[in-house]
């Protein structure tokens, strides 16, 4: 019997791992397409609208429509990066040159392990590893993200990648502190490091960044609302800096450094860097959803309770993915709306604005909670 339990457990766990990979990869592939389509719309262009599978184009109405939507573009891009010549420049440090893309990709994925992406499906909890130190694990892994980029810059042995890598490392470590401090008030309020507990708290007391619908309306949610909003704002901006997205894409600012740390990379290795960036965006969005926007809960129709049926479970996963997609849309939209920061402005914002602000925020949260109890 115990053996049966074990194999069953292992089977479902592997299923979850495969499912998470499949869903994240699909989101990554199509957020690249979304990025191209949205940028095209913003710049009054059409965006990718040609690529089609051989027979699909001849299906009436739907075929041409899907093609115009560019729905096959990610497939074509993936195939291209696989088939392109994979040449290695003469001057690179070969081992690191090969390792760097892999090292960029792995942490981006591994962060997702502790994120609860749903409540229950059957009797299975919809989180890969429900660690009681969830957020510490997340920050530990996020720190590893720097290595791939620094290594890529070093391994390329070329000036642009080197400068890009070094800029990126300074930027990422700076904003990591602001990011880490910004979430401390969240855990002061919740009193648990486990991310599932953070969601459970928000289901009961209202989302931290939007406390208007809750099972138990208390004055406390509103007193702490500004604190949570400041936390969220710092976290959001730091997430942009951590993922090297505009307005903080200094490491790869095209006009100065060509493509930054991945200038010397081509074909599949470049594709891994590219996917790593989008995967980081997915992870950052998921973190924001979990920490500030109630995770898989919605405050209507009993959707804030752990699911009792398969349909509810699926609905929760859908809600979670929907929220993540909204944040991905925000990432893309901001990229085409804001100009790039200067490097001194970037460091100034991180060290001299956000870190003091985050510290003050922690103090305010602590004092408010202290007075209450």
């Amino acid at each position: 019997m115990t053996l049966m339990m074990d194999t069953q457990f292992l089977f479902f766990s592997l299923l979850k791992v495969v499912g998470v990979f499949a869903v994240v990869l699909t989101i990554v592939a199509y957020s690249v397409l979304a990025e191209r389509k949205i940028s095209a719309a913003i710049q009054d262009r059409l965006g990718p609208n040609r690529v089609a599978l051989p027979l699909i184009g001849s299906i009436p109405v739907i075929g041409p429509f899907l093609t115009r939507l560019g729905i096959w573009q990610p497939l074509a891009d993936g195939l291209k990066s696989l088939l392109k010549e994979d040449f290695t420049p003469d001057y690179v440090r070969k081992v690191y040159f090969w390792l760097a893309p892999a090292i960029t990709m792995v942490p981006a994925f591994v962060v997702l392990a502790v994120i609860p992406f749903g409540s229950y499906l059957g009797s299975q909890k919809m989180v890969i590893a429900d660690l009681n130190v969830g957020i510490l694990y997340t920050f530990g892994i996020v720190s590893l993200g720097v290595y791939g980029i620094v290594l890529a810059g070093y391994a390329s042995n070329s000036k642009y990648p080197f400068l890009g890598g070094i800029r990126s490392s300074a930027q990422m470590i700076s904003y990591e502190i602001a990011m880490g401090m910004s979430v401390v008030p969240v855990f002061l309020i919740v009193g648990q490091l486990n991310l599932s507990e953070v969601i459970a708290y928000q289901a009961k007391h209202g989302w931290l960044a939007f406390p208007f619908f809750a099972q138990e309306q208390t004055a406390m949610s509103y007193v702490l609302w500004p604190v949570a909003l400041i936390s969220f704002f710092i976290f959001l901006v730091s997430a942009f800096a951590e993922t090297n997205r505009l307005p903080f894409d200094l490491p790869e600012s095209e006009t100065e450094l060509v493509a930054g740390y991945n200038t010397e990379y081509s074909s599949m290795k470049f594709a891994l860097f590219f996917m790593g960036e989008y995967c980081n965006m997915v992870a950052a969005s998921a973190m924001m959803v979990v920490l500030f926007f109630g995770g898989w809960t919605l405050p209507f129709a009993g959707l804030d309770q752990p699911a009792t049926s398969i349909g509810m479970g699926l609905a929760h996963i859908g809600i979670f993915l929907g929220k993540v997609v909204v944040f991905l849309g925000l990432f893309i939209w901001v990229r085409w709306m804001l100009p790039r920061f200067r490097y001194d402005q970037l460091m100034d914002l991180g060290w001299r604005r956000f870190i003091p602000l985050a510290l003050a925020n922690i103090l305010v949260a602590a004092v408010v909670l202290w007075v209450k109890s």
Binding site: T2, L82, P89, A102, S174, M268, Y343
Partner: protein, 123 residues
């Protein structure tokens, strides 16, 4: 068994590593059998906007990067210390609360010192 999150974590990490190495391997195999590399002196040169590159990549860079690195180390450790404090906050005694505030103030002092010294000003 159903309560072993770390086992699952290991599985997930292995899967992620496999996932990162697999495309590299497949691409390398494809290149080996179907599209062998055709290197050339220009293709393999260091990229520098089409000009012939001068000197190597060991250029001097600002020492400020190091300073930021050092300050980062201190504050990152601080953040890790703040997490358990945040969780245990509900049941803290007055003494523990004050001790933690002193800890935070010491670090604020460090930040203020670096600020006054001009370390945090990017020149």
């Amino acid at each position: 068994m159903p309560d072993q999150p770390y086992l699952l974590l290991v599985i997930f990490i292995l899967a992620a590593i496999g996932f990162a190495l697999l495309p590299l391997g497949v691409a390398a195999l494809w290149a080996k059998f179907f599209s062998p590399a055709k290197p050339g002196p220009d293709k393999n040169a260091t990229y520098e906007c089409g000009l012939v590159s001068k000197g190597d990549a060991w250029v001097q860079f600002k020492s400020e990067y190091y300073l930021y690195g050092i300050i980062f180390l201190i504050f990152d450790v601080e953040v890790i210390f703040l997490m358990p404090f945040a969780v245990a906050f509900g049941g803290l005694s007055v003494g523990a609360f004050i001790a933690m505030m002193v800890f935070i103030l010491l670090l604020v002092e460090g930040l203020a010192w670096a600020w006054v010294k001009g370390v945090l000003t990017w020149k």
